[in-house]
């Protein structure tokens, strides 16, 4: 399941939107739109964001499925 933790990691690093935007090479407006889920960044930009925030794509944009979700998807409840 896709999630968006850009804002969380940015705040963890103590970066402003403008500083992150400058580090990645985009406008602050774009960072704001990404954080508010109003724009889907390209893979290249996602990688740039992950590098700038010192993390990886999975951690930033993906939530692993929980075991219970996998079981119910298979048709059984436990």
């Amino acid at each position: 399941m896709a999630v968006n933790r850009v804002k969380d990691y940015r705040l963890q690093q103590g970066l402003s939107q403008l500083k992150l935007a400058t580090a990645v090479g985009v406008a602050r407006q774009t960072i704001n739109l990404i954080e508010n889920d109003k724009y889907n960044p390209s893979l290249k930009l996602c990688i740039g964001l992950a590098n700038a925030l010192g993390t990886d794509l999975n951690t930033l944009f993906w939530e692993p499925e929980f075991p219970s979700e996998t079981t119910s998807a298979a048709g059984g409840t436990q």
Binding site: S16, L18, A21, G25, V26, A27, R28, Q29, T30, L33, Y39, P41, S42, K44, L45
Partner: protein
């Protein structure tokens, strides 16, 4: 991305600052809308021009088409301006530390615009007077104070408006 292409995009859409993937995508969208609108409009104006040429006169038809196309260009430019401003694609955001530096750069640019305008006016004067008159008239034109007054006032106005517009788009964070 090609630097020349980016320069054209900056110049044509009158945007400053970073042109990242989001801003480029929005500009492409605006450009597509304008292109489709212009294509439709030009087809329509050509039909109307041909009708006027048939009913009234060829000159009237030609004038209709020329004025309609000029109007279309003005409308397209206004739409681009409006669409770019609405999406805030021309806003340049700087932090408090860089603000003074950026403002100084805008002032330097305004001086450049002033000098460029003066050079353009002088060149136009030489070309127009030279083409329609003689060398003597070209020299004579430069002895008239009116030329200098118009050039100075025009240059100040153009440079002032350019500086004011760019400062208006500048945001301090």
């Amino acid at each position: 991305m090609n630097k020349g292409f980016l320069w054209i995009m900056h110049y044509f859409y009158r945007v400053d600052g970073v042109l990242d993937e989001y801003r480029l995508a929005q500009l492409y969208k605006i450009g597509n809308q304008v292109a489709m609108g212009l294509l439709l409009y030009v087809n329509l104006s050509t039909l109307v021009g041909l009708a006027v040429a048939g009913k009234v006169s060829v000159t009237a038809g030609l004038l209709t088409m020329v004025s309609a196309n000029l109007f279309a260009v003005m409308l397209a430019a206004s739409y681009v301006d409006w669409a770019v401003s609405r999406q805030q694609l021309n806003v340049v955001e700087v932090d408090a530390q860089s603000y003074a530096q950026v403002l100084q750069r805008l002032k330097t640019r305004a001086v450049g615009v002033f000098i460029y305008f003066i050079g353009l006016m002088v060149l136009m004067q030489i070309v127009v007077t030279g083409v329609f008159g003689s060398l003597h008239e070209v020299v004579l034109a430069f002895t008239r104070p009116r030329l200098y007054l118009v050039t100075l006032v025009g240059g100040l106005l153009v440079a002032g408006v350019d500086y004011w517009q760019r400062k208006r788009k500048l945001r301090q964070l």
